[in-house]
Symmetry: none
Subunit: 133 residues, 4 copies
């Protein structure tokens, strides 16, 4: 029942690291499998310890709701219909950019999560990772 | 004291499932007893794993505050008097629609929680479940 | 990426319930998918609320270590090599009988967990459930 | 202060992976820094999802108490002076083999944790990782 191999995860992480280096922002980068469980994580030198769990949780959230985390941002603002979503699941949900599903055909078989930079930087690096999958 | 039977919970879930199928949105559906403890849960095929705990927590929240979760939304927005409520209980509270108390006469004897769709869909399916109680 | 359907889970639960009724011990019964996430749960009338999470965690543990939970009992006693295992994972591991993997050919695609009775009763009911898969 | 670099962590993990492959047991392998925070993790194909947190927690425990986790086993058995230690820290402590500090001169600057095999296998793989540091 492997959905994503370690080799897949490393390819995604390598591409994300390359982009992070290119933009000059060290990152926590995590890849999870289709069940949302950690397959691999790296904390680049200088990336935040506070972003360890956020990178993992961004990837988890992408599996949990089958979506990019950036698409949750608008829906969860005060006054919007999912306001409070991030509080409703034991502190594991992230509702801003940087988590992206990894697809094989029509199936989501894993996800990548990136954290430490601005959300734009996180998203850019996650996209570079996802593109290598 | 049994507050709700498994047969009750199954009748509520069956009605909710039927409505979910009718609107074409697979759901996580949970029923809790008067103490807020899980009586039964189903994750329909295609429903989100992130919605397992949210469906359970919607039902829990309905017991915890003896209310539909939708009625907490206005009170907890930024600037309103209960802003922050959803942070205040270990990640178990849900402040948007989809959780409804189950009443026997004047007593709340259980609750149903539904998650995966839009909040309107969740509420509609939870109402169908509650109506069957 | 469904590994087990709700219909599968219900068949397992129905067989477990039947056995529980036959031996006169109401049970919490949970089925999880290959990722260890809850697919369905029932608490039979009279089963313990303390056993809600234990039934779910027995099924989770069977996925987490690809084993029946009863096979962890001997290894984790004081003086044995895995003593302390149950403390090492945030309170989610169960190291006594009642959790059994569900297999499709060589793959573990889910698991069933049962709790409320003696461990012998829990195991007997879990086996009845697994046999129906 | 960087205590361990990502390059260090990767060298440790690579050596551990090589040993794991040699003995035919896929492993979860984690490296933490001097603060006990995750620097990198890999789950080899076939390693347990239950061992993700156990590998990380073995490395954490090695930092938390500045020791190999195997040295906690005797002290924490039933009847011994630290019986209950593993319960005393929120489910983060591991008291059996597989966690080893990484030393630079007299300082402990990180730790490696390994899980999925027998404790002997875990220890052997962790030692191979530590030796490469």
């Amino acid at each position: 029942m492997e959905t994503i191999t370690l080799e897949d995860a490393r390819r995604v992480i390598a591409a994300a690291e390359e982009k992070a280096a290119e933009i000059g922002c060290p990152m926590d980068i995590a890849v999870v499998d289709a069940g949302g469980h950690l397959k691999s994580h790296v904390r680049m030198d200088g990336a935040f310890i506070g972003s360890i769990s956020i990178s993992i949780n961004k990837a988890y959230t992408s599996i949990a709701f089958q979506t990019e985390t950036k698409d949750l941002a608008a829906l969860t603002q005060s006054g919007q219909e999912l306001f409070g979503l991030s509080d409703a699941h034991g502190g594991r949900l992230v509702i801003f950019a940087g988590g992206i599903p990894l697809r094989r055909g029509d199936d989501i078989v894993g996800a990548v999560g990136v954290s430490t930079g601005t959300v734009d930087q996180d998203q850019q690096v996650a996209e570079a990772g996802a593109a290598a999958f």
